[in-house]
């Protein structure tokens, strides 16, 4: 019987918590960025596009270090957050969520943007002529039609967050019960003698969680597609 040790449960709980908030908090921004990239044309759009995609090609350690410099307690933004809102990101699980969100952001934006570009603008025009303003049209027509793509983006980002390691360990380090997510716990175990068996167990847990996420996304995507096809 495969029962989880307290250490494993804690790492799993943290991983799910961090990934959930990473995705939940970045989704509105992801929708916004996808909309801007898909629908607006402005000078410097290529640059913005590049910046959004940067975490995809940069070594995660670079991103983590950048976050530390910016959001650390003495960082430009970090100090301000701490002094005005009492929010500390460095070396907390919230920081881990930020690191995961930044790394997974390009994947989310890409999927949502693709979905948005696939929405027939003629349908939005039809909604407008029926008396629906631009914002209502987005909620009642555009968003439902791009839902499969949004779901894909969310699941991709969630899966990427679960596997986040480099930026997380650089920004928030390895603190048991606070920032020690599955990959970090796994890494820690490989660094101590005799940790092989425990490391293997974490591997299995990681595979199962990732696989479950993929299956769930496939299931949801099919349900949404079926709804659209009537």
């Amino acid at each position: 019987m495969f029962t989880l040790t307290p250490l494993e449960i804690e790492a799993l709980r943290l991983s799910l918590l961090v990934s959930f908030w990473a995705v939940a908090a970045s989704l509105p921004f992801g929708l916004g960025c996808a909309w801007v990239l898909a629908r607006l044309d402005f000078p410097g759009k290529t640059l913005v596009d590049g910046i959004i995609h940067l975490p995809l090609v940069l070594p995660p350690v670079v991103v983590g270090y950048g976050l530390l410099v910016l959001l650390g307690r003495r960082g430009v933004v970090g100090a301000w957050l701490h002094d005005w809102f009492g929010i500390t990101l460095a070396f907390t699980w919230k920081g881990a969520a930020v690191a995961s969100a930044v790394i997974a952001f390009p994947l989310m934006v890409r999927a949502i943007r693709l979905a948005l570009e696939g929405v027939d603008r003629g349908l939005e025009q039809a909604a407008r002529t029926l008396g629906s303003g631009p914002i209502r049209t987005f909620w009642s027509v555009t968003l439902p039609l791009m839902l499969p793509g949004v779901l894909t983006g969310v699941i991709l980002a969630f899966a990427r967050s679960l596997s986040e390691f480099g930026a997380t360990i650089t920004f928030v380090s390895n603190i048991p019960g606070e920032t020690r997510t599955l990959p970090i716990a796994l890494y820690a175990l490989t660094q101590v003698p005799g940790g092989d068996e425990a490391a293997l167990r974490l591997c299995v847990i990681s595979v199962v969680v990732a696989f479950a996420a993929l299956l769930a996304s496939e299931f949801l995507a099919r349900r949404v597609q079926a709804r659209l096809k009537g």
Partner: protein, 363 residues
């Protein structure tokens, strides 16, 4: 009442259109690229004129100089697109109620049940658009536009994407719309068949401009507009009412301003208002009323104009009461008859040449 006077430059194409559309169906007719769709997109607010004024029932929708440009959702116009544009994620009911729900109850001029019943889509309400046939989709799209209680209904070739059978099925619905719901309709088409069946007023467009506009009968009977109406076989269109049927002989009698016309037996009930096509080549002219002749329609008329259509063909316009008839005769016939405006003559039309397809209901 729609009043429009706009200019817009699209690439190297200049659109300069002035027109008004009152009660009934106003057809915007012209070949593709003549700017028809651009005009209704500007009315709907989906594209913006460079300058000009658009108003509906005195309410200004666009005024370039005054800086007025109402958003599409504020214009209260119904738009039926060439491709149905139903929302795929909503049921037919959801689509129909889309515009309706956005209206305060007091402003809902159309009843859901009445529209659904007229369009015959009761049994489709719970289906998704993907499960409908082309004709059903377009009917649902018409219902959706109507239920938004528009002040004017814009239709952009709503039948163009359908096969002939579906077209024939949908035409009567559209013909009834303007009358049953008392909404003016601006109908874009490049099909003269549809225009003849539907339009009260015809606006001929050519190269981004209005070439002519007026009552359909007047424009169709004008040989001078032949280049614009003429992809269609030359002929006049007259309005008439079915007076009686004679089943024994398989003919129907139509009365029109100018006399009685005997035509092949029509299926339409007595009293129906119809529009009759009389092909210019099927009409003959006699200076004196012939006696003992097989031709059933001998109509006293007077010559209005005579003009050469080409080297061997002459266009003659006749007045028969208030009705204009367009006749084509050979140059040889003209050389012998020497028709001149004002002459009293007789127009001869064989009953058989006016077939069932030439008599269309406008009720």
């Amino acid at each position: 009442m729609l009043e429009l006077d706009v200019r817009r430059r699209q690439g190297d194409f200049d659109l300069d259109v002035r027109l008004s559309a009152g009660p009934g169906v106003t057809a915007l007719y012209g070949r593709s690229g003549s700017g028809k769709t651009s005009v209704i997109n500007m009315v709907a607010g989906l594209s913006r004129p460079d300058q000009g004024v658009i108003s509906v029932d005195g309410r200004v929708l666009f005024d370039g100089r005054a800086g007025i440009d109402l958003a599409p959702e504020a214009r209260r116009l119904g738009y039926v697109f060439q491709e149905h544009r139903l929302f795929p994620h909503l049921s037919v009911r959801g689509n129909l109620e889309f515009g309706l729900r956005l209206l305060p109850a007091a402003e809902r001029a159309q009843s859901f049940d009445k529209v659904v019943q007229l369009l015959g889509i009761e049994h489709l309400l719970d289906r998704r658009p993907a499960k409908l046939s082309g004709g059903e989709k377009q009917r649902a799209a018409i219902g959706r536009a109507l239920l938004a209680s528009p002040r004017i209904l814009l239709m952009d070739e709503p039948l163009a994407a359908l096969d002939p059978a579906r077209k024939a099925e949908l035409l009567p619905f559209i013909a009834q719309l303007a009358r049953r719901f008392s909404i003016p309709i601006l109908y874009v088409s490049h099909s003269m068949d549809e225009v003849l069946r539907l339009a009260d007023t015809l606006v001929l467009m050519d190269g981004g401009k209005v070439a002519a506009s007026g009552p359909l009968e007047t424009l169709m009977g004008d040989p001078g507009l032949r280049p614009l109406t003429g992809r269609y076989e030359a002929g006049a269109v007259i309005s008439a009412v079915i007076a009686s049927h004679d089943s024994g002989y398989g003919v129907s009698r139509l009365s029109f301003d100018g006399g009685t016309l005997i035509v092949s037996r029509s299926d339409l009930p007595v009293g129906s208002r119809v529009r009759v096509r009389i092909h210019a080549r099927d009409v003959a002219i006699a200076i004196e009323a012939p006696e003992r002749v097989s031709i059933r329609n001998v109509l006293p008329a007077s010559v209005v104009s005579v003009a050469a259509a080409d080297a061997f063909l002459v266009d003659v316009v006749l007045a028969c009461g208030a009705t204009r008839l367009w006749v084509q005769i050979t140059a040889l016939a003209q050389a012998q008859l020497n028709l001149v405006p004002g002459m009293r003559i007789h127009a001869l039309i064989k009953a058989l040449t006016i077939a069932r397809g030439d008599v269309a209901s406008v009720d």
